[in-house]
């Protein structure tokens, strides 16, 4: 293979020239344990296919979720970590994962869109794509989400994959997100009537066609990539060695995957998810759960005006478990399996202080994700990939929120 060895970002795992490592026997045990998780996932997928009411979409969601969990975990595709590296450490290298995901995702969506809706200028929107309304509520949601990320140490998707790595604050943050969703539902009606009902669902291809939209999309990402080059750290020298199985093991399971590879895979998974099931998102199941509890408690009505008419990573009425639930669950399991296989699984405890911040951050993220109709995965990744202006607006607001959170040192509380 001519692919050069990327340096590890984690000195504890052997660092730049780390050849020495765990014994072959330990590695074999780890791989067996990780393989067991993979087998469990395959068996569950097989059972789902034959289960009435679940079927192939549920199994496909499971597979997509598992792949996402693996890629997120191995590439550390954590929006907060990536933005903190950029803002606090002036290291833009990880940011390229997001840019790559958006670039590949955009190409993938253009390919799929062209099938679903050959002529984008008719005023129709492609089925189910996350093309949300643009309003100040979206900005507020993004800011809130960004601040929440800083407080809780990761966005919702990061909490999910890091839960699979044993991160103790993750479940607390997710619990907070459930509460935040509930608050979002409570505030939905006034926000909808005040603004969202008249907010336009802006979609680039409707104005520019697919080719034009793709050119603008890739152009914007290219400009960002150029601007960020000044904060790229020097590349580190790599080992000179015969490729061995051990090296392959370390590259796949131990060292962080290169940003471009991680990003490209995330973009691809997103495009496949849209093609086969629904746009990628991780908040639909959480929202559905929260909505169901709130409805049963009589806190919100059966119908949330307007919400059910928007495409987005929004809650489903009248169901408890949706396909997205399999995706989210498999994400945690996928991350868990790959962490075990790489010997990276480690349960971290929670203190009263960092548990509280995780909870509060989760609440902020939940509210933000609800009113923005999705989180960093749904509204940002899937939205921008779908050429939705709402995705860019939300993304900018999230970055601003994270910047604010870091300036206020919320992540160090």
């Amino acid at each position: 293979m001519t692919v050069a060895v990327p340096p590890s970002d984690d000195p504890a795992q052997g660092g730049v020239v780390g050849i020495s490592g765990p014994s072959t026997r330990v590695v074999a045990q780890r791989l067996a344990a990780g393989g067991l998780v993979a087998v469990v996932l395959v068996v569950v997928a097989g059972l789902l296919v034959g289960t009435p009411g679940q079927g192939v979409p549920a199994a496909t969601s499971l597979a997509i979720g598992a792949a996402l969990g693996v890629v997120f975990a191995r590439g550390r595709f954590c929006f907060f970590c990536i933005l903190r590296d950029l803002i606090e450490h002036r290291d833009s290298a990880p940011t390229y994962a997001i840019l790559a995901a958006l670039a590949v995702g955009g190409v993938g969506y253009a390919v799929v869109f062209g099938m679903f809706l050959p002529d984008p200028s008719t005023g129709r929107l492609p089925a189910q794509a996350f093309i949300g309304p643009v309003s100040w509520v979206l900005v507020a949601g993004g800011l809130c989400f960004g601040v929440g990320m800083a407080l809780s140490g990761g966005c919702i998707s990061a909490l999910l994959y890091r839960m699979g790595e044993g991160y103790g604050r993750a479940p607390i943050g997710l619990l907070g997100a459930l509460v935040g969703f509930g608050l979002g539902f409570l505030s939905w009606q006034p926000l909808y009537l005040a603004t969202i009902v008249r907010a336009p669902e802006m979609w680039l291809p409707a104005e520019l066609g697919y080719v034009g939209a793709l050119v603008v999309h890739l152009g914007a990402l290219g400009v960002l990539a150029l601007l960020l080059m000044r904060w790229l750290p020097p590349t580190r020298p790599t080992e000179t060695a015969r490729p061995t199985l051990g090296a392959v093991y370390r590259r796949v399971f131990v060292w962080r995957w290169p940003a471009l590879v991680t990003g490209a895979l995330v973009g691809l998974i997103g495009a496949v998810a849209y093609l086969r099931v629904a746009p990628l998102g991780v908040t639909q199941q959480l929202g559905t759960l929260s909505r169901s509890v709130m409805t049963d408690a009589g806190l919100i009505g059966d119908r949330l005006n307007g919400l059910d008419a928007f495409s987005g990573c929004v809650a489903v009425v009248g169901e408890l478990l949706v396909d997205n639930g399999w995706l989210v669950g498999a994400m945690v399991l996928g991350s868990f399996g790959v962490s075990i296989a790489g010997g990276r699984f480690r349960i971290t405890g929670v203190t009263l202080r960092n548990g509280t911040t995780a909870l509060l951050g989760g609440v902020l993220m939940g509210w933000g994700a609800m009113v923005a109709l999705g989180c960093t995965v749904g509204t940002l990744l899937s939205g921008i990939s779908a050429f939705a202006i709402a995705g860019w607006v939300f993304g900018a607001a999230v970055v601003a929120g994270v910047w604010l959170g870091i300036r206020l040192r919320l992540h160090t509380i």
């Binding site: 009606q189 009537l193 009505g301 119908r303 005006n305 307007g306 059910d308 009425v317």
Partner: protein, 314 residues
């Protein structure tokens, strides 16, 4: 007796103004004091045998946990309507209901309820339809009574059987779908007043959250004027002054010179606006109690839907 609100002055003024107004009211003119009683007045007349008090609340059970002393409970969804076909209760039923409540033909009936008197107003309209002579609303309804810290009692009264006799239903107070359609199509002249919220009127939503009754089309009856019911009342739930009310409706071109038809979603809040227009201001007004749930569900009728919201099953 201390009247904190100069009701009589206002009423007298209103009467003068109405009399002086260039319009000729077509139905019997009513002064505000005829139509609305203050809480003070009612508290002073609780023991007056000629005054009968009825509570019509939306929320079941609030009456049972405390009501204005001597008030009789009326269940809107069984006592005031036909529970099987969609219609108001028959004259016979209303007659039995009022007799059981101790109402005689010359009684003063005071209605009140929760939620800004929504269903109390509906009750007032139904009683008016069946010819009750002196039907009034308690200004501010249950909410104001409670906010004032006035007494409540828990035990229901056991009034002696009254002698009320229901008249034939008065068609001048009630509009049916064909009459509304005639207005829409221009063969009849009337002003349609839609008292729902602006989001429903414009078609942005099918019905407010938590509300079950809806039509599978959004929007409003063509030509209708939107004056949400809440504009009839002040912050504490009491009616605005007749002058303010007259100005409010005059501003949208409703001055009593034409017949008026009020409607809402299922007819009850439309009765509140009807009460204001007909009983307080003395205009010729009817309630279209089929309202949007009938109109918007009817096949083939013209609809205005500015927001363009399309029914997709949700």
């Amino acid at each position: 007796m201390i009247l904190r609100r100069p009701a009589t002055i206002v009423a007298t003024l209103a009467l003068c103004l109405t009399a002086a107004a260039p319009v000729a009211a077509q139905s019997p003119a009513a002064s505000a004091s005829d139509a609305v009683v203050s809480a003070d007045w009612l508290e002073q007349h609780l023991d007056d045998p000629s005054v009968r008090v009825l509570e019509v609340s939306v929320v079941p059970g609030v009456y049972d946990r405390g009501h204005i002393p001597g008030a009789v409970n009326v269940a809107w969804h069984t006592d005031l309507v036909d529970p099987v076909r969609r219609d108001i209760a028959s004259g016979e039923s209303i007659q039995s209901l009022l007799r059981a409540a101790g109402v005689n033909d010359d009684s003063t009936i005071v209605l009140y309820g929760d939620n800004n008197n929504w269903f109390a107003a509906w009750g007032a309209w139904v009683l008016d339809v069946y010819g009750a002579d002196d039907v009034r609303l308690l200004d501010g309804g249950r909410v104001k009574w409670e906010a004032d810290g006035r007494p409540l009692e828990v035990a229901p009264p056991t009034p002696a059987e009254g002698s009320f006799t229901a008249a034939e239903a008065d068609g001048d107070l009630r509009a049916f779908l064909p009459e509304v359609l005639a207005v829409v199509e221009g063969s009849d002249q009337a002003q349609l007043v839609d008292i729902r919220g602006p989001a429903e009127f414009s078609g942005e939503i099918f019905a407010p959250e938590g509300v079950q009754e809806l039509s599978i089309r959004a929007g409003h009856i063509p030509g209708a004027i939107n004056v949400p019911w809440g504009q009839n009342v002040t912050e504490d739930g009491t009616f605005k002054s007749p002058d303010d009310l007259r100005a409010l409706y005059a501003a949208v071109g409703i001055d009593g010179s034409q017949p008026i038809i009020t409607y809402c979603r299922i007819g009850e809040r439309a009765s509140l606006t009807w009460f204001v227009l007909h009983r307080i201001l003395g205009y010729d007004a009817q309630v279209y109690d089929g309202s949007w749930t009938e109109y918007g569900n009817s096949v083939g009728l013209p609809v205005e839907n500015p927001a363009g919201t399309v029914w997709g099953g949700q």
